[in-house]
Structures are given as C-alpha cells and as structure tokens.
Symmetry: C2
Subunit: 337 residues, 2 copies
Amino acid sequence: MPDAAAGDAGLAAQIAAADKTSVAAALNLIEDRRPDAQARIARLLSALSLRPGVHRVGITGPPGVGKSTLTSALAAELRRRQRTVGVLAVDPTSQRSGGALLGDRARMDFDPSDQGLFVRSLATAGALGGLTHAANAVIAVLSSAYDRVLVETVGVGQSETEVEHAVDTVCLVVQPGSGDVLQFIKAGVMEIPDLLVVNKGDQHALAQQAATDLAVALSALRRVGIDGAPSAGPRWKVPVLVTSARDRTGLEALADALEAHLHNLGTTALAARRRAAASRWALSVLQRRYGEHAIEVLGGEATLRALIAEALDRGSPPPTVASDLGQSYLERLRDPA
Amino acid sequence: MPDAAAGDAGLAAQIAAADKTSVAAALNLIEDRRPDAQARIARLLSALSLRPGVHRVGITGPPGVGKSTLTSALAAELRRRQRTVGVLAVDPTSQRSGGALLGDRARMDFDPSDQGLFVRSLATAGALGGLTHAANAVIAVLSSAYDRVLVETVGVGQSETEVEHAVDTVCLVVQPGSGDVLQFIKAGVMEIPDLLVVNKGDQHALAQQAATDLAVALSALRRVGIDGAPSAGPRWKVPVLVTSARDRTGLEALADALEAHLHNLGTTALAARRRAAASRWALSVLQRRYGEHAIEVLGGEATLRALIAEALDRGSPPPTVASDLGQSYLERLRDPA
C-alpha cells in the first residue's frame, strides 16, 4: 500500500515537527489492537527518527512515593530550561476499574495549551505482555517529537514491563521512612538506577535518614562489585538526591544530575544502551507472540540476539524484526529441514 | 518408566506425611530446569492431593512494609494454634546478586528443628515467566504437606507472577504513612485483597490514619460496585487490621480474620477459586511456552478455557494440560486441516 506508506511517512514528519495532534494520533494507533494497525505502526516506526540530543528518563519506584507529582514538577523545570517534554505514565491500573476511576488530572498538573509539553498515560488493562511493546512504541514516538521524554513507571526495580530498559537514564524514587537498607536490597532495586531520589523532602529528617541509608547500601554494594548500571559511562557515581515535589525543592539539582548522567554516558555508552534496548524490545515481542519454543527453535537466545542485532543494523524497527523472526519460526516448524 | 512413576508416588506419600526431607527434595526438583525433571514434576503433581482443610494465604504488598517479619510472626501464631505451616517467600531478587547477597535468615526468624514448619524462598533469578509455574508447583507441594500455606510476594497488587491468584485468601500489607488513599487506588491494589493489614502498628497514630484512609477508599470503591475479590463468599466485608510484627500485636486478630475468610468462602466459592487458579496456571504455562499465537490457533481464550476445564476435570495437573495443548498446537501448525 504505497498510499498508506506515504501517509505514515507524512505522520512521521509531523511528529518530528512536534505537532501535538499528530503525536496523539500516533499514540491512538499504538493502542489500536487491530491487525492492520500493527502494520501501520511498523511502517510509522520505520519512518521515525530520534530527535537529535533527545534524552529519555525513567522515573520509577514503588507506589505512594509521589512519582507523578515529581514527574510533573520535573517536566515544569525542564520547560523552564526551554526543553520540550513528552511524558508517558505507565499505570498498572486496576483491571476492573479500567483506569477510568481517577484520571491523571488528579495527580498531574499540566498546562494543556503548552505546545512543548505532551502527557499520555498508558494503562496495562490486563495485557502485561502487551504493555512492553506499546510503551516502547510510545517512547519511540515521543523521542522523535520532544527534547526530553519522561517515563513514569510503578516498579520495585525489576518491573515485568521492562520499561526501565527503554530509557537512557533510570531514576529510582523512594520515600523517607520506607524501610531500612535491607529492604531496598531485598526488593532488588539497587542494581538498576542511575540516580536515586528521596522524594517528599519536606519530611526533612526522615529524608536525610533515607538518603544516608541509600548511600550506605550503595557503598556496601560497590564493595561486592555490583554498583552501577550495565554499560554505564566511565566513573559514574550514583547520586542520591533529596527532593520535595510539593515544595518544588531539589528539582534544579535533579535536572542538573540528569544532564550530568547524559553527558557522562557519552555517545558510545548511550548508543550501546539504545541498541540493547531495541534488541530487548524485539526479543520480548517475539517471545510474547511465539513463546520460549520459538527461541529454542531459532537457535537459542545468543543466536537470536545476533540475528536481531544484524536486522536492527539494517534499519528494521524492533517489531518488524520480531515479526520476520516469527515467520522464520513458523516456516521451520512446517518444514523442518 | 513405571519405576520412576512409583518413585514419584512414594515421594507424594511422604510429602502428604509432611516429611521435611521429601518436601525439600520435591522443591529442589521444581527448581531443576532439566527436561526430565519437568516430566517428574508432572508425575509428582498428579500424585499429590490437597491436605484436607488446607488454607493457602497470600501475604502481598510493596517492599519495605515488613511482610517477612509479619509472615514469620503469623507462622508462629499458627503454630501456637497447632497448625502445621509451609511458607513460600517469592523474592524478586536482584539478577546480578542472584539472591545470595542476603539470605532469609536476616529477615525471618524460624526454628529449624520444628517439624511442623517449612520455609523456602524462591528467587525470580531473571525468569519472571518461569516463576509463576515454579511458585504454583511449590504451593501444590506445600498444600499437600501442611495445614496452612503462607505465600509471601512483593507486589503492588497486580504482580506479574500472578502468585496471588494461586492462594485462597489474599492479604494485602501496607505501611502507615505510605501515601494517601489515591495512591492505593492508583497502584491498582484495591481490587485484589480479601484482608487489608496496616503493619508496623507501633507507629500508632500513622497506622490508625492509614487504616482510616483504607476504610474510606474501600467504601468509595464499594459505591462504584467493585468491592470484594472475584468469587468471594457471600457478604464478605474486607477487614482492615493493624498489626505490629515486631511487637507481636494484632496477630491473633489476623489469624482469626484469616479463619473467618476461609469459613466465609465456604466449599463452593473455595472450589471455584481453586479451579480458576488451576486454569490460570495451565494457560500461563501454555502462553509462556508457545505464545499468544498458540492461543489463537487453538481457538481463542474462551475456547481454551473450556478445553482446560475439561482436562482438569479429568484429573490432569495444570502443567500436563498445558503440555498436551502445546502438542495439539504444534500438530495443527504442521498439518493445518
């Protein structure tokens, strides 16, 4: 369908120009579950390019730590710095209430007339596996349109959504008094973040205690050699920041720390992270669609990762790579050579 | 292999006699990833039967709320009541540290010489999909050996592990001051629990505030008609309890509330929950192994659920049902009629 392809290329161009209506149209397409929508998304993703200098930041942490308020305040700080901002809130919403019970408006405070700011939430709505794919696609769209992309996820460090892995910088938010160091380690949260934020700094003494606990835990982990995130830039020491989203304190320091992490990553580590994220996305789509059996039949995970890397290098977007590999799998099943 | 089958039947008999060594051997088998272990597990599961009157309780909640201490204290209370107790702690452990950094000993306080108490933790170790299967199998083993099975999981209500769904009663643990009612709803935690526990009741004022918040939220949800868990017994009003695992207060009330929930469920609702759990387990194993494509090829989820129900009624354990359906899928692919 050359017309449709041209239409998707046009949509991609309008997204790159940060046209809010086009961004919204693309996101609606991503949430459309019909098969022809999937083909259009694949074409759209092929036509999209990363905005030069874009920085994707994940804001993750357990529920109740004030991630939404912090994300909102950080977005405002970035807008003050003349950055355009796209926000994706991934919401493990109640299946039964369908997410409609209470909207984002109650939690986030945004100016809808600001053309440089786009906010969308994505509910799991019972499709946990599908969320990874949808979130990755939304992040790709926002990364084409805006200077800074903020992805808010509920997680204890290792979310099933793996959305954390789709961003350049992972920022873990905790609250003061939320437990001792042992609990942070127990929850497996210590391995992922590039930045640690103790939010609700208005509870000053508690926040300082939590920051101290975290610094101690980080130092303990460093001793056993598991500090830092995979392919972190050289000599990155995870900063522990104290913020109060409500009182709007600590946000400049947070924005500065995010810039510092981006700068510290440098082009090589940043490219490596993004390649790894694209590969993970492709593998996750394949596994969700055809299961572990497909991975075995196609030669195991190591072989597959190499195949995926080759296909990505040829410029195919991850869902297309997954779809092509799925066809190979089915052919092998039908005609085992 | 009649000898192996006889051996597994013997193991099942020893498990039913609550022989600790046999229970441990079965759990080791479940964690064994070799293909022949899978066949043995399937045979073992066929040979196992539920202990009469067994009650499986899930203790879930975000990290840092003191679930481990509470589980330990609850187990002690149940032992005081002459119940034998099996505990499974599902741990979203750091992939990198492999869970070996800090063991359960730091968190749980158990008497290893007590023959009526068995404790095992299960780490995700990077295999999120596999965890559901392993946890379900461990719960089946413990449910044959002990009067009460406590399953501790980290979750924000909708864990990817779906371990919550494998138990008869879900107990959600929160901490005082962990955020307002809106946050509980946002995290999607309000739809699942049968009991709500505000732990760390030593922070008395905060715990009372949290209990009040939760009661308000429950009442708000009831108004929009989404209170209670699926197939709850008649007229079950979710109790909000305050405990302090450290000070050992509120544990008798918790144990009483658990008994009350079991009694309220009654045999019909309990059987319905257990059938639903077995069906979910089979579907999850099938999906993990062969993906969504298998579900489509086999006629869609509704058709599959009916097929699964039939097979379960014939006495096949869920992994066997999944494995048989997987074979049908592969046959249809190879020879599309």
